[in-house]
Symmetry: C2
Subunit: 341 residues, 2 copies
DNA sequence: TTGTACGCGTTATCAA
DNA sequence: TTGATAACGCGTACAA
């Protein structure tokens, strides 16, 4: 005890303060259950010994870690970076910390990451989207691990998110109202990605409701060049006057391709995005897109998950999306409308 | 034991497999120290009971968590989002997981976050930059917590990073070689940010070496509009022909302001950035900037930190920066060179 | 190669 | 309000 030991324990603190270990523990976890006088003695000893509780021991005895896990496709997508940032900032400081894992849009890897986080003692989980192997949900239920889903909505699980289908439908509605009839879409990969799928279907269904169909659909990986390439191919059909994109990055790529092809936006083609991330207001012209409240979503998700973890019941929250009409949309012009191949 | 209990323990597994708990433990942590035959029995029991080791108990007994902590200013800055993403992907799967905390560029908050992560049992830490209260480094040394610094370089601590000073100096060198003499700079906030400070000083020193000085310096918060505003103010001095920006976001903002002011880039003004994040190739014209290997940096940082944690000694790694000459630079034109106020 | 038995540092139950 | 003490579940010398 008199040795210069690096890590003091509760016993050391208790001894120095002249109390029991139980009291020391209480001072840290339920200060109100200790008389101010003794509490002061204990805190004094804690400072003197530079004591800090052992994480493993605490987790073992209390059966919780204060660690919240999040599995996201990738932080390279600004949408997730911003959402996760807000999520982390909204975690009660001192009470919870964030363990992040990425899965690169791979469902199998997502499953592994979920298991890894739970194995690491995560008290709760933040996941992206609804669509995944039901076995995962069952497993989570058995293990009694609370979770919140984000970037989507639904009624089968707790979530803090928005409606991809409705958001995209609204955008297509606007494009149709402008007079466009020959519309194409550049969608993100829908495989194992219900957000991308929702957006694609939202657009498709709205068109169908008007008795229309896409003049072309490209389903491509996330990325600027990816969007650019898809745009160039789609526009081989000279009748197309509007290209709906599944996200802002694809739209920015499309815009770049348009410039290269000598097409003027929005005079020759209308291009729309989704998400309203930073780049949407940097392109020229600035992108007409669907704004998603990523930051508020992260905050709400954090609040909801913390409630669930503490045993309270929380309500899912559906955030509104909104069309941000900037510079890449306009009515179809004669040049394209009557263009020939 | 026969009850439908949710969490099986080593004892359950040992009983079912007909071995001791020690053997079960070995199967998990040192499979080679167990004969294949018994190992198979044990793994079978593990599967049957759906067993997974208790994190707290394991951490307590083994004195390590397999958790690596990272404290960054914010994930909203793409630079950190990409670096952290690469870092996380490079962590040995199954062995280490990433606990992230943000500090919003606030040194005091960074200190708290570091303590919080260590308190949560982090086996090692990833931190941004070198400049911080020496007490923190001492504390880390006493606690024997390995750490790696990134996004900068130096010889006082292990790091995986790059030279902000040299990177910016090279850019200013290029601008001067183009013929510019009336140069201004939009710098990020240098307070508690050695990366921003390094870039500012790198530029300043190079100018000084040529007997020159900035015609103006604005030190502003991170952000598009922030950069735009600074640019507009700086350009009140009509003699300025080049504006060096501390990062790509500020540069994109400056570019936007230039458009608004009716200035043509690079004909009327040269604008340069730093980092080469996505937006650098989306602006019009595309941004001339300094490329920083954020992804490789994240990977190297992960490799180095894991080595340190495992007791091996690792070498710091200095990554090269590189000028990416795109569309926002050109020699000064007569119009600006001889412009009058 | 496998088993025994103890220690790891807290929390939580129950009495006092 | 405080104290004694039993878990908590796993790793690991040490012994067999």
């Amino acid at each position: 005890m008199s040795e210069k030991t690096v890590h003091a324990t509760v016993d050391d603190v208790a001894a120095l303060a002249g109390v029991s270990t139980a009291t020391v523990s209480r001072c840290l976890n339920a200060p109100d259950r200790v008389v101010p006088a003794t509490r002061e003695k204990v805190m004094e000893a804690i400072r003197a010994l530079n004591y800090s509780p052992n994480f493993g021991a605490r987790a073992l005895a209390s059966r919780r870690t204060g660690i919240i896990g999040a599995v996201i496709p990738t932080l390279e997508n600004a949408v997730f970076a911003h959402g996760i940032d807000a999520f982390e900032r909204s975690l009660s400081p001192g009470k919870f910390a964030l363990l992040v894992a990425s899965c690169g849009y791979d469902p199998e890897r997502e499953k592994q990451q979920i298991e890894a986080l739970v194995a690491r003692g995560a008290d709760g989980l933040l996941l992206v989207g609804f669509d995944r192997d039901p076995a995962i949900y069952e497993w989570l239920a058995i293990r009694k691990v609370p979770y919140v889903l984000a970037w989507a909505c639904g009624d089968s699980h707790p979530y803090a998110g928005f409606d991809n289908v409705a958001g995209m439908a609204a955008m297509v509605r606007m494009v149709l109202d402008l007079g466009h009839r020959n519309v194409a879409m550049i969608s993100g990969l829908t495989q194992g990605n219900d957000r991308a799928r929702g957006r694609l279907e939202g657009a498709r269904d709205l068109l169908a409701g008007e008795g229309l169909a896409f003049r072309g659909v490209a389903e491509v990986p996330y990325g600027l060049e990816s969007g650019a390439r898809a745009f160039a191919e789609l526009m081989a059909d000279r009748s197309i006057t509007a290209v709906i994109c599944g996200n802002d990055v694809l739209a920015a790529g499309a815009l770049r391709a348009a410039h290269r092809m000598g097409l003027r936006v929005p005079r020759d083609v209308t291009i729309t995005g989704f998400d309203d991330i930073d780049i949407a207001s940097i392109t020229f012209p600035e992108l007409t897109t669907v704004r998603v409240p990523h930051t508020r979503m992260g905050e709400q998700a954090a609040a909801l998950l913390q409630q669930l973890i503490e045993g309270k019941r929380g309500e899912s929250v559906l955030l509104p999306t909104e069309i941000v009409a900037r510079g890449t949309h306009a009515p179809p012009t004669a040049r394209r409308r009557f263009a020939k191949a």
